[in-house]
């Protein structure tokens, strides 16, 4: 009987652990060799986020790689997790997508059972627990590294939380980037980030950072004008989570590329 669960609390992950173990993978018994896994597993790459005047922006390129092959041009790395928060994931794609789905269900489940949302630190901490539980898998190369962003109504600003493989949680003040091209994206952000920053400027900055990452890192995709594929970007503000439309990103990219042409200088 699906109704008689042993677990009576308000966490979805704990409910799965207690009553629906078959839906979770047990990584403790798995033994994967680093060599095999790096060849056959799909990996997602560069993600970044930055705070601006109205809140916070989170973005990711769309490429997934399998060894030195591109396995997907249209993978989604940025997810809305609830009304006022979003996350982006880098690492082993299969696990990343599931983590995002599980985390979204977790937040929603809590909100429905308890009748109110967790505060932003609560959400960020919950994600840290989930990453920590993935640690046995991370030791075997199955790594998930997310960035979590949300709007904080008490402090009236956007906030960024970064994680490491052991579930360590660190708050970033202004911007952060991770994944294979994360270092290059962060360099760009570091050089060009100035406060105050409005939405338009924040979008331009994130696009430039992703472009630089794609230039240096083979596993990060640049703008794909042929297929019409551009990075996905979401903004999180007091009004909620919003997708930046693809045509807006496209026109920003085209303007950016134009400005890079030598004739314009």
């Amino acid at each position: 009987m699906i109704f008689n669960t042993q677990y009576q609390g308000s966490s979805f992950v704990e409910l799965l652990q207690k009553d629906f173990k078959q839906l979770l993978t047990n990584f403790n018994d798995l033994h994967i060799h680093e060599k095999d896994s790096s060849l056959s597993l799909t990996k997602g790459t560069t993600i970044l986020s930055l705070c601006y005047a109205d809140g916070v922006l989170i973005a990711g390129d769309r490429r997934a790689v399998e060894g030195n092959r591109i396995s997907s041009r249209r993978i989604e790395k940025v997810y809305k997790t609830d009304q006022y928060s979003a996350m982006a994931v880098a690492g082993v794609a299969g696990l990343c997508i599931d983590t995002a789905k599980l985390f979204r269900t977790e937040l929603e489940h809590y909100e429905k059972i308890e009748g109110e949302q967790l505060v932003i630190e609560g959400k960020a901490n919950k994600l840290a627990h989930m990453i920590r539980q993935n640690f046995p898998a991370a030791l075997q190369g199955l790594i998930v590294v997310p960035i979590f962003v949300g709007y904080d109504f008490q402090q009236q600003r956007g906030r960024i939380f970064k994680y490491d493989v052991v579930g360590g949680i660190y708050e970033e003040e202004s911007y952060y980037a991770t994944g294979s091209g994360g270092k290059d994206a962060k360099n760009t952000l570091k050089k060009l980030y100035r406060k105050p920053l409005d939405e338009e400027a924040a979008l331009k900055l994130s696009i430039e950072a992703l472009y630089d990452a794609a230039e240096e890192d083979a596993a990060t995709a640049g703008p794909d004008i042929m297929h019409g594929i551009y990075p996905s970007i979401k903004t999180v503000t007091a009004l909620g989570v919003r997708d930046v439309p693809q045509d807006r990103i496209e026109s920003l990219y085209k303007a950016f590329l134009d400005s890079k042409l030598p004739d314009n200088e």
């Binding site: 009987m1 109704f3 789905k101």
Partner: protein, 229 residues
């Protein structure tokens, strides 16, 4: 050795039903009503924190009357059921019908097997992408299930409210009008009754909202809408 008294099954069921019915009759009423953009749920509820109406999933909402602790338990297991199903399959596979059936099974089992039946009456409502696909399931303390269109009432004095709605219900009401109608209908339960806005719990399933369609109507908005209605 003393022999246990023989009680005929008929008598036992009747006693249980009467017991449950009494418990529910003491409570206040709750209305679910289809309007132009979805379904509105309204209840007289003096408490602002212990709610009778709740979100279950994207398009599904739950409402219960009777014993709070009992329908609260049902509500939570409904959320667990829906979230597990949505996580295992897809969000579109979570339907009001399957949830209502599961509720009916559970409540029916308790009614026949336990000494004390549940003193609850619940509604499972689901908003469809077109009005014809809306559904409202009414589940009684013994697990019997029936589906309604247009409107459905549970709780004490349900007949009176039902009678009033039979005469005054119209299709495709605006939200303001539907809210006003719910308010007047709930006031019909006793003569010259006035329900203040603070004691009204209202939520809607609005098909125009993207994703999760459940929304509570806060007091300030409730006041403004009732004034316009």
């Amino acid at each position: 050795m003393p022999m246990p008294y023989y009680v005929s099954p008929e008598q036992m069921m009747q006693d249980k039903a009467e017991y449950a019915r009494k418990g529910i009759a003491k409570g206040k009423s709750l209305v679910a009503l289809e309007y132009a953009d979805g379904i509105i749920l309204a209840a007289e509820n003096p408490s602002s924190s212990l709610s009778k109406i709740s979100e279950i999933y994207d398009c599904i909402s739950f409402a219960g009357v009777g014993k709070y602790s009992e329908f609260e338990n049902l509500r939570k297991s409904g959320i667990r059921y829906a979230d597990i199903k949505g996580y295992t399959y897809s969000r579109a596979d979570v339907t009001g019908k399957s949830l209502a059936n599961a509720y009916s099974q559970v409540i029916g089992n308790i009614f026949t097997k336990e000494i004390k039946p549940l003193e609850v009456e619940i509604l499972v409502v689901e908003v469809g992408d077109i009005p014809e696909k809306n559904s409202m399931y009414h589940i009684l303390f013994d697990g019997s299930i029936s589906d309604y269109h247009q409107y459905s009432v549970i709780g004490g004095h349900a007949e009176v409210v039902n009678g009033f709605l039979r005469e005054h219900y119209q299709e495709l009401l605006s939200l303001d009008e539907a809210l006003g109608l719910c308010h007047t209908a709930l006031e019909k339960t006793t003569e010259n009754k006035q329900i203040s806005e603070e004691h009204l719990e209202v939520a809607i399933l609005d098909r125009n909202i993207e994703g999760r369609k459940f929304r509570r109507i806060p007091l300030s908005e409730l006041r403004a809408r009732l004034k316009r209605a």
